[in-house]
C-alpha cells in the first residue's frame, strides 16, 4: 500500500518538505518549458534528477506570458532585438521574479511532528532571444546561462537556440545543468563523460540524465551553505572533493 502511494507521498513531501528548493520558472510567449522525458519507462524531470542527489527540487511553472520587448528598427543591426544581454536579463528577473532570493524558514507542524521548514529559491526563465556576446553579436551556440554567479540564484534558457527549440531531450538536460550551477556544481564535476554537469556540446548525443559521482558527492555531502541555491557564490574546486 505504501509503495503504491509512494508517488503521492513523495509529491506531498515535496510540497511540504522541510528542506527543499523551489524553481520558479517563467517563460516568454512563443517559448516552451522543457518537458519530461521517458527513459526506460521512467519519467525524468527536474525533480527525479535532483532526487539522485537526495535533494528535493520542486518546479513551479509561473508566468508564461512575458512578451519579448522590441524597439525602433536599427538599419545597422536588423536583428538587434533577437539577442539579449546579461544586464537586460537582470531587468527581466527584477520585473518578474516573485520568489525571494535565498531561503525562507517557517515553523511547520503536522500531528506529532513540529519543526522548522526551510525552502531555497531559484529563478529560471525561458527567453525568446539568443545570448548577446560581448562583441555585440548573437551567440547561436549558447543554450543557457546561470547569470548571477555571485548568489547562484537564477538561470536562463535561450529559446532561439536551435537545440533548445528543436530537441527537448537536450533542452531538459541543459536546463537541469543550469540549475546544477545554482546548486554550486561545476562543469568539471562531469566533464568528459555523459553526465548532467557536462556541457551539452561535450556530450553530444551520448548523454544521460544522471549526475557524476563528484556531483552526487557534492549534493549529498557538501556543506549546506555551499550547496543550496541563492545563498553564496560559486566555488570552483574541480572536481568537488568532500
Amino acid at each position: 500500500m505504501v509503495a503504491r502511494r509512494l508517488p503521492s507521498l513523495l509529491l506531498l513531501a515535496l510540497l511540504t518538505g522541510c528542506t527543499s528548493a523551489r524553481l520558479e520558472y517563467d517563460r516568454m510567449t512563443g517559448t516552451a518549458f522543457p518537458q519530461p522525458e521517458t527513459v526506460a519507462g521512467d519519467t525524468v524531470d527536474f525533480t527525479s534528477m535532483y532526487l539522485q542527489g537526495n535533494r528535493l527540487l520542486a518546479v513551479l511553472e509561473n508566468d508564461t506570458a512575458i512578451a519579448p520587448l522590441t524597439g525602433p528598427f536599427d538599419p545597422t543591426d536588423p536583428n538587434q532585438y533577437d539577442y539579449i544581454t546579461t544586464a537586460e536579463l537582470e531587468t527581466l528577473e527584477l520585473a518578474n521574479r516573485a520568489s525571494p532570493v535565498g531561503s525562507l524558514a517557517w515553523t511547520c507542524s503536522f500531528w506529532i511532528f513540529s519543526g522548522t521548514c526551510t525552502r531555497y529559491h531559484l529563478y529560471g526563465i525561458v527567453v525568446d532571444h539568443y545570448r548577446e556576446k560581448d562583441s555585440g553579436t548573437r551567440s547561436t551556440t549558447s543554450l543557457g546561462l546561470m547569470y548571477n554567479s555571485a548568489e547562484r540564484r537564477a538561470f536562463v534558457n535561450y529559446y532561439k537556440n536551435s537545440t533548445v527549440n528543436g530537441d527537448n531531450a537536450k533542452y531538459l538536460r541543459s536546463a537541469a545543468h543550469e540549475a546544477g550551477h545554482a546548486f554550486n556544481m561545476n562543469h568539471c564535476d562531469g566533464d568528459g563523460s555523459t553526465t548532467i554537469m557536462n556541457q551539452t556540446g561535450t556530450v553530444g548525443d551520448s548523454f544521460t540524465y544522471e549526475f557524476s559521482s563528484s556531483s552526487l558527492d557534492h549534493l549529498q555531502n557538501h556543506d549546506e551553505g555551499a550547496m543550496w541555491p541563492g545563498i553564496s557564490s560559486r566555488d570552483y574546486d574541480c572536481p568537488h572533493v568532500h
Binding site: N54, L69, T76, E90, T91, D134, S212, S213
Partner: protein
Amino acid sequence: MKIRTVAQTASFLALLLAGCTAPTGGPWPREGVVSPASAEPPAQAVAAENLSLTISTDRSRYALGEPIYLYLRVRNQAAQSRPAVSSLDPADGAVDLLITGPDGKQRPFRPLVRADVDASLQVELGPGEDIGGIAPIFFGADGWSFAAPGRYGLTAVYAVPKDGRISRAAAPAITIDIEASPLGTRLLGEDDAVRVEVGKFLTWQTGDHLERGQRRLRALLDAAPDSLLADYIHVAFARSLSEPFMDYQRGKVRPADCPRALRHLARVDLGRMPAYVRMQSALAGARCQLLVRNWQAAAGHLAEARSVKQGRPEFQDYGERLGRLEAYLKAAPEAAR
C-alpha cells in the same frame, strides 16, 4: 482499518521526517537516490599535448580601480590537427582563471555568468593555428579582483573535454602591479551594493537598471573629468548609449542616444586605453556615426577597429560585427559620393 490508517500515517510521517532531516544520503527517499560510489566518475585530467596557452595584459602597472583585460591565446604546436574549444570566454567553460593576491594566496576568478554551449564550439585546430579571447578580469562574481594595491599573479588553465578525458594546458604566470589611487578608492567606495553596480556597469558597459552605480560614475566624471578612470567611464557610458536597452523592469526599450554617446567618446584619450576598450569605443563610435550619417567619421572609427584587430586572434569574435558595419557604410549611397 484503523491499524492500516495508523500504519499509513506513521509511514508518511517517517518519510516526511526523513525528508526533513536527511539531506546527506539518509535513509529516505531511497527510490531515486544514487550513491556516489555507483555513479560515473568524473573525467581524468591529462596534460594537453602540443596545445599552448599564453596570457597577456596591456600593461604591467595599473591604478587601483582601473578595468583590466586579460588576452588569451591558444596555439596548436603540433603537426596535426588537435581537438579544441573555440571560445576562450571563461563564461563558456573552457578557461579557468586564477589570481594570486598580494597575500600570496591563489584564488579562482569566478566570472559573472556560466554558460551551457552546444557542439559548435568543439573544433579541430589546425597545425600552427591560434584561438584567441579576451576576459575582463577586474570584476567577477566575488566582486573586484584587484581591490587593494600590490602585486598580483595571473594564470589560466585551458581544458578540452574529449572522449572521457580532459586535456589541460596551463599558461605561464604573469604579474601586474596595482598602484594606490585616491580616485580608484573613491570608485570602489565603501557601499558594497553600489560597488557591485559600478563593477557590473564597467564590465558590461551597459545596464540602465544599475542606477546607483551610474550615479557614482557620473560623480567621478564631475570630480576628475580628465583622469584616466574618467576615460573608462566615458567609454562605458558611450557604449551603453550607443545601443538600445531592453528594460523589462520598465517594460520598454530605451532607444540608442547617439548624440550623447558621441559626446562621451569625444572626451576620451584613446592613446592610453587598453586594446579592448579601443575596440569597443571604435565600434560604438562607428555605429553612432553611421546612424547620424557622418560617413567620414564612421570610416575613421572602423579603420581604428580594423587596426586594433589586425594580427590579434583575441579579437576574432569582433570580425562579424566589424564586417557588418563596414558593409553598411559601403552600401550607403551618400557615403559612396
